[in-house]
Symmetry: D3
C-alpha cells in the first residue's frame, strides 16, 4: 500500500505518527511524509531564512531512518490557509503519493497550521482523482482509495482515540526520528518548557495503557461515503 | 411561501431534496433551485467546457417537471470557497428568492463544494436583509424570514435526521427529476460504482422506515436566534 | 387528541409545561396531568402525612383551571425507581390516557425523581399497547401513537430546546395554575431562595427570545422508530 | 474465537447481526446466540404460555442454519431489569460462552428490554472473570478478553455506525434465519405495519451504501480500558 | 492582569461580557476592548459612512465608563473573513493587549462576523508570541499566557455555559454601557423587534438562575495544550 | 470546607483523586473518604471473607497519611445497584460528611460498581438536605452546598477533563497512599498485567502535560441548578 502522512511542520509526524509509519515501513509499504510548511518560524532567535534550511535537513534525516520519501510543501510557516492556491498544492501532494491511507492533523488541534492542513486534506482527498481540475502539476490518481485517519494532539485535548496502533516494537525508532530534529529541542524548551522525548514517552505510554500494550499511538477515522468496511488497514 | 434549495451541483437537489420540493410545488408554493457551480468537472472523460452546457440543460429539465425556477450560480465546479466574492454571489441568490425556507448541504458532507455551499448559506442568510452591503446586484429582501434546513448526505454518514418529510406521494416525481441528469448516471457508475436511482430508492426507504411511512427525506434544522417556533413549515 | 403530561411532583407541570397544556386545552384536546409522587417530602417543616393532602388539593385546583384530569400516582415522594412495580404503575397511567402526545422530564434533570419518571415513561410507552403484560389494571391502549417530548429544566442546565411553543397567550393561565401551589412558594423560598413566579417569568422570556415571541416553553423530542414525521402536533 | 450475540428477543439477532454471525460461522468460529427473554409477549392474540414455546423453537431453527448454539435466558418478555438477579443470569451466560467478541443492543434503542440487556452485558462483562462472586452457576471464564460491539437499531435512530461488516455473501443466510421466525411476520405486520424481510433488505442496503459494498451490518465499539488495539476481530 | 474582549461590533461586548469586564476593572486589572469591525452596516436607514463615526463614538463612551481602552479594528462591517490580512490585524490586536485572559465570540453564533472573529482569535493567539512573523506592526508579546473564553450568544442557542460570572454588583454598569449605543436601540427595534435593555435583563437573570445568583454572564473555556489548571482567573 | 470522595473500592481514591485530596488536607480542610464496597472480590485467590478485612486495614492506613476520615460503606463488592436500600446508605454517607465538595466516579467508567456509585451520588446529593426522608440514620445536613466533580478513569477512555488540579507537590504522598494497598499490586499484576505505581505516574504526567504542570489529576464538573459560579473551590 501507499501511505502518506501530511503534517504542518517538521517533527509533527515524529511526535504524532512516527511509530505507526515505522511499522508500515517494516512491512514493506511505501511511506511518504509530506511536510506542508517550511517550519521557518519555529524559533525565538534563529531567523526564518536560516531556520528553514536547517529544518528541511532534519526532516530528511528523520525520514531516512525508515526509508520514507519526503514531500516538502514549502508553504511559509504559520501561513496555512484553506484557500484556492494551497488547495491546488495539497491535491498535487496527494496525487504524488496516490495513497491508500492518509494521516493528518485533527480538526480541534491547538495550532492553526495543524487545523488548516487537516481541512485542506479533507477538501483535497475527493478531488485528487478528478482529471479535469485546472492548474494541477500532477495527473489525477486513483479516485476511490484513501482512508483518512486523524492523529492525536499534544496532551490529548478533547481527543478520544477510536483506533490505537501498538508501537511497542517501533518506539525506539520513533525516538531516533524525533532526535533528528535538534533545532526543536531547544525551541520547545524555551517556548513551552517541554522536553520532547519525555513528552512522547508519556503520551505513548498513556495511549498504550488504554489500548492494552506498552506504547501506542491513537487515531480517529474520518467517516466518509463508501469508506467504511471493517477490514482495517492500520498495522 | 418562497422556497429555495441551494446545492453545489446539478443533481444534488434531486438526490437529497427532490421529493420535498415536489410537495411544496404541488401545494402552490414558489420553488427556486440554486445550483451554485456549473458541474463541469463531474466526468472522467467529457471536458469541462462541454459538460457545463450539458448539465445546465439537465438541471433546467429537472426543475421544469415541478415548475421550479433555476438560478445558475456559475461558480467553477470543485472551486467553492467561503470567500468575499462567493459570499456576494450567495447573498444575491438568496435576495432573488426572498425565501421563507432554505434547504442546503450539511456541514459534515463528504464533498468540499457541499460543505462550503452550506457555510456560505449560513454566512449569507443574515446579510440578505441588510440594505447597505456594497457590491450586491440585488436589493435587500426581507430580514426576518428564512428557516434553514440541512439536507441528508449519501449513506447518511454522521447524519441523524430530526425532521422527516413523507415523500411517498412524490417519489415518482423525484425519480423523474433525477432521470433528467443522464450525464451523471454514467459518471457515478464509473467513479463510484453506484446506480443513482437505486441509491435514492434505498435512502428514501430507509428514512421512511425511521419516519413511519414508505418514502421519506431527512433533514436537520439550523437553530438560530428568533427562528424557533414549532409551527413547522415543512410539508 | 389525548395529551398527557407525566411529572414527578405537583407544580412541575405548571413550571415546565403549563402554558403548552393550556393551549391544548383551549383547542379542545383532552388533557391529563399525571403526578407520579405524592409530593410529601417537599417542605422542611410540614410533615409528609399532612403535606401530601395539601399538595393533592393544590394539584387538582391547578388542573381545574384548564379543565384537565389529574391522575395521582401516589408513589412516595423522593422514592421513584425504574423498577418492576413502578413500571406497572406507569404503564397503567399511560393506558388510562391513551395518549397521542406525552410530555415528561428530560434525562439530565437535577432531581432523581424527575430523571426516573422520564426513564419510566420511555420504558413504558412501548408496552402500553401490548395486551398480555401481567399485573396491569388497565387494558392495553393504542400501540402506535404517543410522540414523547422532554420538558426543559430549571435554569436550562445542559438543555438546548429543539421545539419552542409560543405561550404568550396562555402565560397568565400558567401563572394562575402555579399560584395554586401555595405550599411550594414558601418551601422554594426557604430551600433555594427562589421566587417561583419570578422564575417562570425569566425562563419563559428567555425561551421566547430564542423562539421569536414574548413567552415560550422549550422541549426536545425523543426520536424513535416510526415516530418521525414533520407534521408536528405541538400547538 | 468464541463469539456471542446477546439479544433480548428471538429474531433480534437475525435482524441486527445475522449476516455477521454467519460469516463467523463460515470461518469456523464458535457462535453462541443468547436470547435473554422468552419472547412471550410479542403477539396481540396468541397467549404468552403458548407463544413462548413457538418462539423458542423458531430461535433454535434459525440458529441451526449456521450451526450456532442457543442459550435460552428465559426471563419473562418485557421484564428485563438491570437488577441483581438478572445480573447473575447474564454473568453465567457470558461465562458459558467465554467470549472473545460480544454483540448486544445499543444504549439508545427504542425497546426497554433491548436497552437493559445492553446495560446488563456492560455490567457483567467485567465480572465474568472474577472467581468469587456468590450465586453463580458457572465457573469464572477468562478475565481479559471480550470486545463488546453494539448493534444497529431499527431505522438507525441516532445510530452512526463506526464499523461496517460486509454481509453481501451471507445476506441470503440472514434472510433464511429470519424466515424461521414465522410468528413475528404476522405480529410486526399487525403492530407496526412492517414486512420484516423488506425491512432488513433496506437497512442492509443502506449500510452497504455507506460502507462501499452491497449489503452491510453496522456496529459501534464499546471503548474500554485495555480493549483498544486496531487488530480488529470483526470479519 | 491584562484582559481583552475581542468582539465583532460595537455593543457586542456590552451585551455579552459587560458585567464581567466591569468586575475586572473594579479589581484594578487592565481592560481592553477590541471592536474588530466599524459597525457601519448596522442600520436600515443611516448610511455606512455616517454610521461608522457614530458607532465609534458610542463605543468609546461605553468603554470610558469602566476606564477601558478601545482598539478600533476598522474592518468593514459584515466583511470579517479568516484570511491572511485579517489574521495579521488580529495578531497585532492581541500583541497590543498582551492578554492574560481573552473573551470572544463562540463558534456557533448566528452572525458570520461573530463566528469569524472567534476563529481569528483562536488562529492568532498562538502566533502572537512568535517573533518572526512578517508584516506585523507590533512586536511579539508573551507566548504562554492567554486563557480564551467564549461568550454566550443571543437566546443561548446551542450554548451551555460551563462558567458563570456573578454580575449582580455590576449589572447597573452593564446597562449604562449598553445605553451608550443609542443608534442600536432603534436598529434592533426595527430589524428584530427587540428592546436591548430588556434583552440583557432576561438573559442575565436566566444565567443567574442557573448559577445561583441574581445576574450572571455565561462562558465556556477553550481547552488548549498547557492552559488547563483550575486556578480560575475569572472574577 | 468539608471534602468527601466517594469511591467504589479501596484504592480507587488513591489512583484517581489522591493528590487532590492531599492538597485539601494540607490546606486544613476536612477530608472524608467513603469506600462504598468492602472490596472483597478483588483477588483471584484470596477468599472474600479474608480479603475484606485486609482491604479495610489498607484503606485506613492510606487515609491516615493525610489525616482523612474513612467511612466504610460495607456493601458487598461487585454488588452496587442504584436501588432504594443503597440510596438510603448513600444519603447517610453524604449527611455524615455534610460536604462542600464531592468527588466520585464518572458515568462512563468501565466498572459497574464505579458507574452505580456515581449514579447513587447524583441521586442522593439533592436528598441529603431533606429532613423527612424515612429510614435515614443521620439527620439532614445543609441543603444548598455540594459541588460534584467526576474523577478521571483508567486510560482516560472517553474522558476529557475540564478541570486539572496541579498535584506536583503531593504526587509523592499519592504514591505513599497507593502503596498501602499491598493486596492490589499482586491482583492488578495478575488480572490486568498492570503495575499500579507505574500506571499513576503515566496518567498524572499525561494530565500534567495538558494542564501545564508536571503532575495533574483531571476532573469534570456535574452542572446543576444553582451550582454554577466560577469561584472554583478546587485547590
Amino acid at each position: 500500500m501507499n501511505i502518506i502522512c501530511v503534517v504542518a511542520h517538521p517533527d509533527d509526524m515524529e511526535i504524532l505518527c512516527g511509530g505507526t509509519l515505522a511499522r508500515y515501513a517494516q512491512s514493506g509499504h511505501t511511506v511518504t511524509i509530506a511536510v506542508f510548511t517550511d517550519g521557518s518560524m519555529g524559533d525565538a532567535v534563529i531567523k526564518p531564512a536560516e531556520l528553514k534550511g536547517i529544518r528541511e535537513k532534519e526532516a530528511h534525516a528523520a525520514a531516512g531512518i525508515i526509508g520514507a520519501k519526503v514531500i516538502w510543501g514549502d508553504i511559509v510557516d504559520e501561513h496555512v490557509f484553506p484557500d484556492a492556491a494551497q488547495r491546488l498544492r495539497m491535491i498535487d501532494i496527494l496525487r504524488e503519493a496516490d495513497p491508500d491511507v492518509i494521516f493528518t492533523h485533527s480538526p480541534n488541534d491547538y495550532h492553526p497550521d495543524h487545523r488548516y492542513v487537516g481541512q485542506l486534506v479533507f477538501d483535497a482527498y475527493f478531488q485528487k482523482g478528478l482529471p479535469h481540475i485546472p492548474g494541477q502539476q500532477k495527473p489525477a490518481c486513483r479516485f476511490g482509495q484513501a482512508q483518512v485517519y486523524y492523529m492525536d494532539n499534544l496532551g490529548g485535548i478533547g481527543f478520544s482515540p477510536t483506533e490505537y496502533v501498538n508501537i511497542t516494537e517501533t518506539f525506539e525508532i520513533k525516538k531516533q526520528m524525533l532526535s533528528c530534529h535538534k533545532s526543536q529541542f531547544e525551541a520547545m524548551k524555551d517556548l513551552a518548557d517541554t522536553n520532547l522525548l519525555d513528552m512522547i514517552e508519556v503520551q505513548a505510554r498513556f495511549r498504550g495503557m488504554a489500548a492494552g500494550c506498552r506504547y501506542a499511538e491513537g487515531f480517529t477515522r474520518l467517516d466518509a461515503f463508501q469508506r467504511g468496511l471493517t477490514s482495517r488497514i492500520l498495522p
